[in-house]
């Protein structure tokens, strides 16, 4: 494993200039996530329309390049998708990071899959997986309105 496979240009670029790093006006769902190991925090804001489609999604927080890029790519990608599609994509992404060699979701276009696979390098770095997954878990928590802060230490 070469370190460059983890820190690909697209990751570095998103890490440096994260998309949607702001707070959505009139958001109707939100959730917080926390990684106690490194102290990184993320707050996801979601605005769903009456058809449960993601009208806007944004995040606030700070963290390493992997976590910022992951949140940036994720928020870009789920915009315009329906709530159930989003949840299906999240579970596909988490499955890929955990064990699956590829993404299988029918809700993802090929170019979206390619983009997401840029984060797959993190699989080789078990201590860094949580950096990549924190915002995704937090997004689901926002959708489900669990009102509970996501804590990476309490996840599988």
């Amino acid at each position: 494993m070469n370190i460059k496979e983890l820190y690909q240009e697209i990751i570095l670029e998103h890490g440096k200039n994260p998309r949607n790093l702001r707070k959505t006006d009139n958001f109707n769902k939100d959730a917080k996530g926390y990684n106690p190991l490194c102290g990184d925090k993320v707050h996801i804001y979601l605005k769903l329309n009456e058809k449960k489609k993601v009208e806007d999604v944004s995040f606030e927080g700070s963290g390493c390049a992997i976590s910022m890029a992951s949140a940036s790519i994720m928020t870009d990608l789920v915009k315009g998708k329906e709530e159930n599609e989003v949840k299906e994509i999240v579970s596909d992404f988490l499955g890929m990071i955990k064990e699956n060699p590829e993404l299988r979701s029918k809700n993802l276009k090929e170019d979206e899959k390619t983009k997401l696979m840029c984060l797959s390098g993190v699989k080789q770095y078990p201590m860094r997986v949580k950096c990549a997954t924190l915002s995704w878990h937090t997004l689901v928590s926002a959708i489900d309105n669990t009102q509970e802060e996501i804590n990476t230490e309490r996840l599988d």
Partner: protein, 406 residues
């Protein structure tokens, strides 16, 4: 002293990490172990094992003597007045919890104050927080200055008539600042305040003289001192150990047990309930011998040269910012790089076999004060060399290159 020979005593350095020589810069977290310590564990279990202090058979007597030998060695190493002032614990954390629990039980009431500092490791804050919750005591924090130091003046400022104990680190595991313990103890004692020193970082790197420091309690982590894990030492003045109640109840710590009354054992048994980390204690004697063989003055001299060299090269490196600038710095160099998160730094350095730590180093209060969530930390041990620091610097440059920094 030939430092290369010392590195050879540590088998771990035969290991390659990602096909590179290991550059171990995480000794503040835990130090590596010399062969003599590793072998001693094996030998004890292979040829000498028995539980201690209970049975009269040959092995039990021999093992008990070995165990007590370490207590004597430690007494001498830290110049404690009495052998029974050395209590073995499962770590420095337990040592501090022991004091917080027993001192709290006996001497603290609602409104009393414990004075700690903004530099403290969570293990020298959370045990006092328990007393805040259970007894309603107050915790005051002596402020850290811009150089990452806590001065005697900032301690003095927070002392009130309600202060009962000052709990303070000897050497900060983040800024590397060495605190003036002797002066703090003098000040505290003049106001009838007890002093506990968190010696986790002090013990492996500084000359320890309990009678000179005159502190009431000193907590030591053996695994940071080239010794086994699962072991710590609490030094406490005899008068405290006699006066304070026992910490844990169980076998070994009692004198006589009846249905309606129990009397406790004499020192040091009173504080060593249950089967102790016997093999670790016995092997730890080798760690003390190892440090004595090198000589603490040589350790101090060697690490001082390394720290000066490390500060020099990192200060010259653009975009690297050292955390803290204490006048007296121990074997810790924490830093940040503008534009690269410490976790990314640590992952990239690891690829070159350079082991550092990234995070808040169990000091969230301090990081909040510094206004950052995490730092990168290179911490030194006796086996490190200037070449290790050169490798650190060149791997930092690799990080900058990957992140397109100048």
């Amino acid at each position: 002293m030939n430092i290369l020979n010392i590195k050879k005593e540590f088998p771990i350095f035969n290991k390659k990490v990602h096909n590179n020589d290991l550059v171990y810069l995480d000794s503040a977290n835990s130090s590596q172990k010399p062969k003599s310590v590793i072998d001693r564990v094996n030998e004890f279990y292979s040829k000498e094992f028995s539980n201690i202090g209970r049975s009269v058979h040959y092995l039990a007597v021999a093992a008990t003597n070995l165990y007590e030998n370490t207590r004597s060695s430690m007494q001498k190493y830290i110049n404690a007045k009495d052998k029974n002032e050395i209590v073995f614990t499962k770590g420095a954390t337990e040592a501090i919890n022991l004091v917080a629990n027993t001192f709290g039980q006996k001497f603290l009431k609602e409104g009393d104050e414990i004075l700690i500092t903004e530099l403290e490791h969570h293990s020298n804050y959370v045990p006092w927080h328990f007393l805040r919750k259970s007894k309603g005591i107050k915790i005051e924090f002596a402020e850290v200055n811009d150089d990452g130091e806590v001065t005697i003046e900032s301690i003095n400022k927070k002392i009130t008539s309600k202060t009962k104990l000052i709990a303070i680190t000897h050497l900060s595991n983040v800024t590397g600042a060495i605190l003036p313990i002797k002066e703090i103890t003098e000040l505290a004692h003049s106001k009838n305040i007890a002093v506990l020193v968190d010696g986790c970082q002090g013990a492996p790197h500084l000359k320890l003289d309990m009678q000179d420091l005159d502190c009431d309690f000193y907590a030591i982590s053996c695994h940071k001192m080239y010794g086994p894990t699962g072991l710590g030492v609490l030094y406490a003045k005899k008068k405290w150990l006699e006066e304070l109640p026992p910490y844990q109840g169980g076998g070994g710590m009692i004198k006589e047990v009846k249905k309606d009354e129990i009397s406790y054992g004499d020192l040091p048994n009173k504080y060593e309930a249950g089967t102790m980390a016997t093999a670790q204690v016995i092997a730890f004697d080798q760690s003390i011998k190892f440090l004595e063989k090198i000589g603490i003055n040589n350790v101090i001299q060697h690490e001082k040269e390394l720290i000066n060299y490390g500060q020099e090269i990192l200060k010259k490196n653009n975009s690297v910012k050292l955390i803290g600038n204490p006048k007296k710095r121990g074997a810790v160099l924490s830093f940040s790089i503008e534009g690269i998160h410490p976790h990314d730094i640590a992952t990239i350095l690891d690829e070159d076999g350079v082991a550092i730590r990234a995070g808040h180093h169990c000091c969230q209060i301090l990081h909040e004060k510094l206004g950052i969530t995490a730092t990168a930390r290179a911490s030194l041990g006796i086996y490190n060399t200037k070449e290790d620091l050169d490798q650190l610097n060149s791997s930092i440059n690799k990080c900058k290159k990957i992140f397109n920094l100048k």
